[in-house]
Amino acid sequence: MGELEALDLLLGLALVALAWRLLAAPDLFEGIVLFVTFGLLLSFAWVRLGAPDVALAEAAIGAGLTGALLLDARGAMPGASVEGPARLRWPVAVLAAATGGVLVAAVLTLPAAPAGLEGAVAARLEESGVAHPVTAVLLNFRGYDTLLELGVLWLAWLAVAAAGPRPDPRPELRPDLRAEAPTGPVLAALVSQLVPLLILVGAYLLWAGAHAPGGAFQAGAILAGGGVLLRLSGVPLPEAARAAPVVGLGFALFLGVGLAQAAAGRRFLELLPAQAHDLLVLVEVAATVSIAAVLAALFAGRRSVS
């Protein structure tokens, strides 16, 4: 067994062990920390599987933003915890074991030579308007999926905005003690240096998406991460509802591009190879702005105390 195989084996075992620990954690905070650790190791596993696009998304959204969201939610309900250690529920265990068995059987019966669509994508990559196959699939060949994902994000924002500004969890405290994050000057100094860097990284990922791993989702998540850092360091984010002008932008623009093709006598979302590049760049930029706005809106500030 080579070093890399040993590393993969360790990684796989660590993931399973971590998954068990985080599900069995008696304390919510401990569970969340283990969840973030799980996400980081999982993104490493994606790198080992040769899927850097998924690894980037997992690290930024799965581990980073989701972890922050979970911690945020836990902080908003003080005293919440799981009742006792996890118990074994037999029906659930049987169902999970059956599902796991089917998955293992499916993996074991996979053909040795993968019969994926890699060849088909490579053959038509020229016509997609971008040079990176993942972006070509996400935005052109399977544009439907991404369009609907943007729609789902927009709906998620709608739900958050409809719920209104968050109530203050501890209204009994004096306003000066209720300050959102008494984190001090060191974090504020770091954030003031880091946020411009995050904007640069987000812009780079957006630009890189056309020819290398990256793209709108990763870029949007990085930008939203900057928003979360700002809030943690005491800069309040505007209320979720105020993001209205930009959250629907990506979905609306993508839909408009798709409908314009239909109006011109082609199929919905069928882009002409000559125009594909410009249209996809336009859609990617709009989608990045929308994704960043929606993800940041999930952390939006509570009603300002008077």
Partner: protein, 96 residues
């Protein structure tokens, strides 16, 4: 020669990571654990950076490794400060 120096630096970095992990598991409270952990983050990762940079195929790779180390340095220092602050807050009796 370069290869040997690189291996020595990486090995020295790993010593800090092992020591930091041992300290994290064995030390009694948050502040002493932070003390152990930050040595791994700062010096351990720095030694790894030097070791890997000696093996880097080009200057551009070495500079990128340096940027990774610097970012971790700033981020982990801040995180350490925040954890220490929270630990001190928790120790102090609750305010008014």
């Amino acid at each position: 020669m370069l290869e040997l120096a690189s291996s020595l630096f990486v090995a020295a970095g790993l010593v800090f990571f092992v020591a930091g992990t041992a300290g994290l598991l064995r030390f009694p409270d948050a502040l002493t654990r932070l003390h152990a952990l930050t040595k791994a983050d700062n010096l351990g990762l720095g030694l790894l950076f030097v070791g890997l940079a000696l093996r880097a195929a080009s200057w551009s790779v070495a500079v990128r490794l340096l940027v990774v180390w610097l970012l971790v340095l700033f981020a982990s220092t801040t995180a350490c400060h925040l954890v220490a602050r929270a630990a001190l807050e928790a120790r102090r009796p609750p305010r008014g």
